[in-house]
Amino acid sequence: MLSASDYAAIWLTLKLAGVTTIILLLIGTPLAWWLARTRSRWKGLIGAVVALPLVLPPTVIGFYLLVLMGPEGSIGQFTQWAGLGLLPFTFGGLVVASVIYSLPFVVQPIQNAFETLGDQPLEAAATLGARPLDTFFTVALPLARPGVLTATVLGFAHTVGEFGVVLMIGGNIPDKTRVVSVQLYDHVEALEYVEAHWLAGGLVLFSFLVLAALYTLNPGQSSRR
């Protein structure tokens, strides 16, 4: 069965995924909007950077984050200058890493939703006197709701399942950085297969339920033309 430290890891994981998802939506939505609407020649470049975590092995991202967020790294120097200290081995560090790692899972569905929106509803809003920001909140965002929902679920689920990055910069500290995936790995490595099965089973069940809910409630992009 699950031990106290398993429960602590589960709680920490949910907290991490929740905070990460909120931050991702706040950052990812404007970014997706820009990517969907811009004609800038930087679009391809920025889009590629956002998508990088999809193809890079998590341990590689984790290693570079460890170096960048360390005392000699540029992020580390910045956070020290800003009086935040160093990020590795802290909850905040995990949040930063998770945000970077899960970014494409949030940006891409929202970007797709904004792209399928087309110009028409936005133009209609403009001719009715709505400012661009007003249009964004009253027309674009409500119409992109299926995409935002998908992004929320994927961002959350992906953060829950994240392992390699956390392993590299977490330091496995109970209640701070020891999330479910690391706890599970420890069980497996320590040959505690029974405990591992419980956690792994829970993780599989959770992921399945989340994805099933997503695909049931949101079957494809709704047709609106």
Binding site: G73, F89, M168, D186, E189, L191
Partner: protein, 253 residues
């Protein structure tokens, strides 16, 4: 149809190549901390005997799970004694072939020069944010670090500042990148080929502060009939290998 013929030819040549290659090959699983010396030793061994060695590196716990599930390893160069014990109990390794080839040495190391004093007093002063160790549950060097801190009476006080790495390699990364100011690592990780530690600062932990880190090599059930497997074990405890092992900072029996 032409494609199908090509496919058959390709398949049969691959199979032929695999069978031929297997004849004088030995598959070896090596604990990650011993990767560098093992490469040198394997090269020497191949030169002298004509056998071919295929090396895989990883944590010993992972190898155990893999071997139990049919991994094709013939020799395990372990970083502990417990794993060979368990494999013997499971009937997956040959007790008679078992040898201790090296004894691990623990060192408290910092990437910053002058940070660690020669007597380890820095641990008592506690002027640091993070102390990196390998996971005591998973890695023998982690268990040794935990034991050292306990014997020094510091385990309880320092616990909040300890960051655990999954293995000794990662513990070294934590310290080398400066994210942890200091940490317990394997001497073999920081020693240079001249036999000295030339980067940062360190304290060689006295051998009486932790149990001996005996590292055993053993022939696995799959290597029973491979003469190259037995030859490798012999070679590993021979004088040429011992010199290499010693130069990496390991103790010898």
């Amino acid at each position: 149809m032409a494609y199908f013929r090509y496919f058959r030819i390709a398949l049969s040549s691959i199979l032929a190549w695999i069978t031929i290659a297997q004849a004088d090959e030995v598959h070896v699983a090596v604990g990650a901390n011993f990767a560098s010396p093992m490469k040198l030793i394997a090269a020497e061994f191949e030169k002298e005997t004509g056998h071919k060695i295929v090396l895989s590196y990883g944590t010993v716990g992972k190898f155990y799970a893999q071997i139990k599930n049919g991994a094709p390893f013939e020799v395990l160069v372990s970083s502990d004694q417990e794993t060979p014990d368990k494999l013997v109990a499971d009937g997956l390794a040959l007790e008679t072939t078992r040898r201790t080839y090296a004894i691990g040495r623990l060192v408290l190391w910092s990437a910053k020069p002058g940070f660690v004093d020669p007597n380890g007093e820095v641990l008592k002063k506690g002027e640091f944010r993070h102390l990196a160790i390998a996971n005591p549950k998973l890695a023998v060097y982690g268990a040794a670090a935990q034991e050292t801190l306990k014997r020094m009476g510091l385990w309880e006080t320092l616990a909040p500042r300890i960051v655990q790495a999954e293995n000794i390699t990662q513990a070294h990364q934590f310290v080398a990148s400066g994210n942890a100011e200091l940490g317990f690592v394997a001497l073999s990780q920081v020693i240079d080929r001249d036999g000295r530690i030339n980067t940062g600062s360190h304290w060689l932990v006295p051998a009486d502060l932790y149990p001996r880190l005996r590292q055993d090599v053993i022939v696995l059930a799959r290597g029973r009939h491979n003469p190259a497997a037995a030859a490798l074990v012999d070679y590993l405890v021979g004088s040429k290998a011992r010199a290499i092992i010693k130069s990496y900072g390991y103790g010898l029996e």
